[in-house]
């Protein structure tokens, strides 16, 4: 199989890898780079567990070719905390009981971050729309929606 060189930043760090042509960003992140915060739930673009942010936009890494990410800035939940200091979304998910099994959580947090980065004070409808591509089978979504709204409030307080 032909190998293709790819360079991008992952959570601000430079990464360079040879990937198989046609390999997904999901596989490259998990198996080559070792960022297993990105989860493989369906590998067909239906569950959102593998969601990452590429150049500021939410992407399903299972449907994104790694070789198309050359030069991109990629963000994952694995790089969201600064040491022991959690991102407001991580804190809100933790304190708001928005995780149960935890498998959808990293993708869910990426979807929420993509929302808050562009819309710091979203309505409940905005939140529901933003996570509509992410499946959670445990919580019934309500604690997740509340956590995202709480993180948005926390952001506005710290900005004030």
């Amino acid at each position: 199989m032909k190998k293709v060189p790819v360079q991008f930043t992952l959570n601000g760090e430079d990464k360079a890898e040879f990937v198989e042509s046609g390999a997904t960003l999901l596989k490259a992140l998990r198996e080559k780079i070792g960022d297993t915060s990105v989860k493989a739930g369906c590998q067909q673009g239906t569950c959102g567990s593998c969601a990452v942010i590429v150049d500021g936009e939410l992407r399903l890494s299972c449907l994104t070719l790694a070789e198309r990410c050359d030069g991109a800035a990629i963000e994952t939940t694995g790089g969201l905390a600064h040491g022991e200091v959690l991102h407001p979304l991580q804190r809100a998910f933790n304190e708001g009981f928005a995780t149960q099994c935890g498998f959808c959580t990293p993708g869910m947090i990426m979807a929420a971050k993509a929302l808050l980065d562009g819309n710091p004070q979203p309505s409940r409808e905005d939140v529901v729309e933003a996570i509509s591509g992410n499946i959670c089978r445990c919580t019934g979504y309500e604690p997740i929606i509340q956590a995202i709204l709480a993180a948005a409030r926390a952001n506005s307080l710290s900005a004030a």
Partner: protein, 455 residues
């Protein structure tokens, strides 16, 4: 929502350290930082990928299996067939003396459901494993299939599973689990109304976000470390020990982190064959269901058919309840004989009925084997019972909630399976539900107590 403390006030303690206090989940920090290690979050050098060749037919005889082309496919390291499995015919609940062994790890002469595993390919890459699986040629003689409870129990139906000899599980109590309480015929004879209804449900898939799977590492010590998302570590350990005829001390199951289970990860399906693959190749093996396999292959909640016949008096008292329950196990037992038993014990529901007759059957069909799922054997029964309760209330012209107060079980009542009722709280739950939802209920029902009968 307001916490009502007047219920069972004398049984309540308000000075507990943990109960009633908000506490963060011990695992949530890992979840929100993406550092929780799920079984698949491992990269191992030399990892082999296992891909199953599965039956495209609901029921077929296997005439021949041709592995020659698949075996030559680049990247293929080993192909496993039934001949490689030391104890190929097993049943999970043998651990609690439920038999007979009725399921093959890899099919031999027959397949009994669409998706049944026949041959396992071990290859260097997922792609090579997939491609090789498509090159396995199986010669089938397609057999007539039974795809519903009614078809399975019809006279002359094809036998689904020869290890049982008939299309239902034979308990020590006979063709069904039975509950007999009072005289149900006398109850019907004295009833003002009789209502018989049939309820049905289809299989339900748990659809966890993380699919079923495991990664096995052969260790230098001669042991096998199996990273698994099973919900049943010891079922997995013991059944794997039986299937592989391997001392349990050689098996090191590592798990406890499950990306959604809901009962769907209690069968022992992926671990034995993956460990066998690791043993025979000396390399780490990954066997992870695709999303399609999770939806089609992993065992769902059983389909059920429930016939409920009730005798009821004009004042709302249910005087007789007769239930015929049928649980569709699919082609193999797995946990369904136990599910059907739970179903029998659950009727007549949380109601005190003086005359009860229950037959609960575990039925075999050529469908995906069903197994555990949140309250299996009980949940569908509750759906049917509560719809039946609403219909009975309408029949006698009563409010559906008041109708349930009349029939609710209370402390001291003898249940149909001869367990006296203790610690009942149905009355109090319904009182609070009526208040919370502003559902008008006559004052006499709001004065009732689970602890004593009035008068």
């Amino acid at each position: 929502m307001e916490l009502r403390k007047e219920y069972f006030a004398d049984e309540r303690k308000d000075d507990l350290k943990e109960i009633g206090q908000p506490r963060l989940r011990s695992d949530a920090l890992g979840h929100v930082t993406g550092t929780t290690t799920f079984f698949a979050d491992r990269n191992l050098p030399g990892l082999l990928h296992l891909k199953m060749v599965r039956s495209p037919h609901h029921h077929a005889r296997i005439r021949a299996i041709d592995l020659s082309e698949a075996g030559r496919h680049p990247g293929v390291v080993r192909i496993l067939t039934a001949d490689d499995v030391p104890h190929n015919v097993y049943t999970i609940l043998t651990l609690i003396q439920v038999g007979p062994e009725d399921e093959t790890v890899l099919a031999t002469d027959k397949v009994r459901w669409k998706g049944e595993a026949i041959v396992a390919i071990l290859a260097d890459s997922e792609r090579a494993a997939h491609e090789a699986a498509e090159r396995v040629k199986v010669d089938y003689e397609v057999l007539p299939a039974v795809l519903s409870i009614d078809e399975a129990l019809a006279p002359g139906a094809p036998i689904v599973n020869e290890y049982h000899g008939q299309n239902y599980y034979r308990y020590d109590s006979g063709e069904s689990r039975k509950v007999r309480f009072g005289d149900v015929e006398a109850g019907f004879a004295g009833a003002d109304h009789i209502l018989e209804q049939t309820y049905g449900s289809g299989p339900i898939e748990h659809a966890p976000t993380e699919t079923t799977g495991c990664i096995v590492v052969p260790e230098g010590s001669g042991r096998y470390t199996c990273y698994t998302n099973t919900q049943a570590m010891f079922f997995t350990l013991d059944n794997t020990s039986i299937i592989l005829q391997m001392d349990g001390a050689k098996l090191h199951m590592v798990g406890g982190t499950v990306g959604g289970g809901f009962g769907g990860k209690v069968d022992v399906i992926v671990e034995p064959i993956a460990i066998l693959g690791a043993k025979l190749t000396g390399r780490p093996v990954s066997f992870i269901y695709s999303r399609e396999e999770e939806m089609q292959i992993s065992s769902p909640r059983a389909a059920e058919k429930l016939v409920i016949k009730d005798g009821v008096m004009r004042d709302g008292r249910i005087v007789a309840r007769y239930v015929k329950a049928y649980i569709d196990a699919g082609a193999y037992s797995r946990h369904s004989p136990y599910g059907a038993q739970k179903s029998a014990a659950h009727f007549p529901g949380p109601y005190t009925v003086p005359n009860v007759w229950v037959d609960s059957h575990c039925v075999y069909t050529n469908r995906t084997p069903s197994s555990a799922m949140r309250g299996f054997g009980v949940t569908i029964g509750d759906f049917a019972l509560e719809v039946q309760m609403d219909k009975l209330a309408r029949l006698v012209g009563m409010d559906p909630l008041e109708f349930r107060f009349v029939n609710a079980y209370r402390d001291g009542d003898m249940k149909a399976h001869r367990q006296p009722t203790e610690g009942a709280a149905l009355i109090e739950c319904m009182q609070e539900a009526a208040r919370a939802s502003n559902w008008p209920v006559s004052e006499k029902y709001l004065q009732m107590s689970s602890a004593r009968r009035e008068g």
